[in-house]
């Protein structure tokens, strides 16, 4: 029964039992250390009380400007960074008994169990040059996760690697080559093949197309979508490009200085934003249409410093709707419409422009 319902991608709008991953109150503080004794003098609150969930087979886009904590949030989920606090609940198949599934808190797992779960969650990184070991052949790179998990089956492994390479659009004769022999787009495909080698259910893509040219970016996005359909993958897609995120995501979370400002279905978020930051961000994106005349909202100043954020709502110094309350109180993150969450004091009364 349960297995059957997993086969279909989630359709329903409400939060339901199709949740694959749920992040609750996730925090990642990096200490600022000074002096000879490395005394901690403060914290960079890179991720500060973040909540979201990902359904099976869907893509959650995580957008925001540099330093907003979107990459850190992605990495904290699989404990590449050890989170400071919070819960990361994941519906694991590997830890379930008798082929069933079990909701586990990744942050409480033993190293042994964590390693088991890591088979189900993989990552694709931004930089296709530095994320591949230059001394390993493509075959070794793609097979490495299998080796690490003791699944290297000798001769069969090569067949698995070849089928993975073919699946991402590379040729079997690429097997013995080294990363430097490939273009950026091809290297990203190698990274994707590696991420798929353990048959994951969730792939965290950290700016996977930012370093690629537009034509290659389109190929890579198409590939990611095809793979999602074929393997019923869930993606957390971290990126700063709002049009790419809109294109690939079912739902989108907008982050600002370590906090989620707004989450909604992609179309809803882009057409009816509820947070002034989302509105400003959308209006700032240059449109590829010379006849498009927008009343661009130019946000003043820079992104707030996460080690010394402003009081109240972190966005208030740049917000054109800010009032006294915004300086004093941290806004509550609440569900204003079904599936549409926002953290803004004035969300109810404001009418904001979407795209």
């Amino acid at each position: 029964m349960a297995a059957e319902s997993q086969m279909k991608p989630a359709q329903s709008k409400a939060k339901d039992d199709n949740i694959l991953l749920e992040v609750k109150g996730l925090k990642k503080y990096f200490p600022i250390q000074k002096g000879l004794l490395r005394k901690t003098v403060g914290y960079v609150k890179a991720v500060d009380d973040v909540n979201f969930y990902v359904r099976e087979g869907e893509t959650l886009g995580l957008v925001g400007e540099s330093g907003c904590g979107k990459s850190t949030a992605g990495r904290s989920i699989i404990r590449l960074y050890e989170p400071t606090a919070g819960e990361v609940l994941f519906k694991s198949r590997a830890l379930g008994s008798n082929g069933g599934q079990k909701m586990v808190n990744l942050l409480e797992l033993s190293p042994q169990d964590m390693k088991t779960v890591r088979k189900e969650i993989s990552m694709v990184f931004q930089d296709p040059v530095n994320s591949l070991n230059p001394r390993m052949t493509v075959s070794d790179i793609v097979a490495e996760p299998l080796t690490i998990h003791g699944l290297n089956l000798g001769s069969e492994t090569e067949a698995i690697v070849i089928s993975l390479l073919e699946r991402v659009g590379l040729r079997p004769d690429h097997l013995r080559r080294y990363p430097h022999e490939f273009s950026g787009g091809q290297r990203q495909r190698i990274g994707i093949a590696r991420a798929l080698s353990l048959n994951p259910r969730l792939v965290i893509c950290d700016e996977p197309v930012s370093a690629l040219d537009v034509s290659i970016q389109a190929q890579t996005l198409n590939l990611l979508q095809d793979l999602q359909k074929d393997f019923n993958l869930s993606y957390i897609f971290v990126a700063h490009d709002l049009s790419v995120v809109q294109h690939i995501s079912d739902r989108v979370a907008v982050m600002y200085v370590g906090k989620v400002a707004e989450i909604a279905d992609a179309e809803e978020l882009y057409s009816h934003p509820l947070h002034p930051y989302t509105e400003a961000l959308l209006s700032a994106v240059p449109k590829a249409d010379p006849l498009y005349k927008s009343d661009r909202i130019v946000m003043q100043g820079d992104v707030a410093d996460p080690s010394n954020p402003p009081s109240g709502c972190y966005f208030h110094p740049r917000c054109r709707y800010a009032e006294e309350v915004c300086k004093l109180k941290t806004p509550e993150f609440r569900e204003l419409k079904p599936g549409h969450f926002v953290a803004c004091h004035r969300a109810e009364e404001l009418t904001l422009e979407g795209i």
Binding site: E65, S66, S243, H247, P286, M299
Partner: protein, 360 residues
Amino acid sequence: MNEPLIEVKDLRVEFDVRAGIVKAVDGLTLTIQRGKTLGVIGESGCGKSMTARAILNMIPKPGKITHGKIVYHRQIKNNGQSQMEDIVELTGLDPDGKTIREIRGGEIGMIFQEPMSSLTPVYTVGSHINEAVSLHHLTPVRKVGDQIAEQVMAHRQVTKEEAREIAIKMLQRVGIPKPTERVDNYPHQLSGGQRQRVMIAIALSCEPGLLIADEPTTALDVSIEAQILDIMRELQESVNMAIMFITHNLGVIASMADEIVVMYMGKAVERAKVVDLFKNAKHPYTQALLKSIPHLGKKKTGGRLASISGMVPDPFNLPTGCVFHPRCPMFMPGKCDKIAPSWTKVDEEHWVSCLLYEEV
């Protein structure tokens, strides 16, 4: 109305490396008009940045301009009033000579992409580099105000105090808060967006007739990018400055350019007014580029992007005929792989280099 400022004629830039000769720019012709913005778009390695460097006579070794001319219509300023026009052929100048040094920074300003490390490989060799570097890199150990002031003093007859005043005024103009304090800051005390604004302040401090902006906002967030583009537009209007805007971002170029040149493998494949190019692109490469980007706000329709098949060809082993033919959806066998297309006028101020529009 149109008054040419820079005319690039049949420019060729070649790199003689061990594996052979790479034609970074291969027979490029374009014109930059006074007070207008020319957008140059194309994917990495298409030669757009090399063209900019050729105009500044700053081709890194082992690159060389092997053919062509770059004609600069220079205005000689007399008592602040522009008078006569002097025609200078930039490629003929000594890259270390006095004239080009006056032009660089003084009459042609430049802003490059912010991650400065992206430029370093180019600047590890060559003797004329030091100056070029100081022109478009912020030195970490010196105050930003001094760096602007130095640029001003190098090109204008002003005292140190006056130069500092100009520096403060420029910082204010590019939207840096508290310029009187910021002028004594070091670059590391500024954010990425602010550093890029300082670079713009330096580039514009001498009110150049042409600003070459090579991916000036690529490393910046959209909110900062919007600020920088606004500043560039404002300054362009106030001093009638021409801009050569190089980018791969079609959204940015749509809002900035008057005219656009599309480059592929060192050649211009299409040139048109901005609206024409976006609404009525002729070259299959331009059409494919425009289709391959996701458009913000457009509803999803099943959601696949049109991608260009294949990859940019190996520069040592270029395809015969039209260089785009192996990736072209309109490929005509027996024609495109045999005959190199020539520059064809398809409309008023709209040129394309494609055999579809030629009678062969």
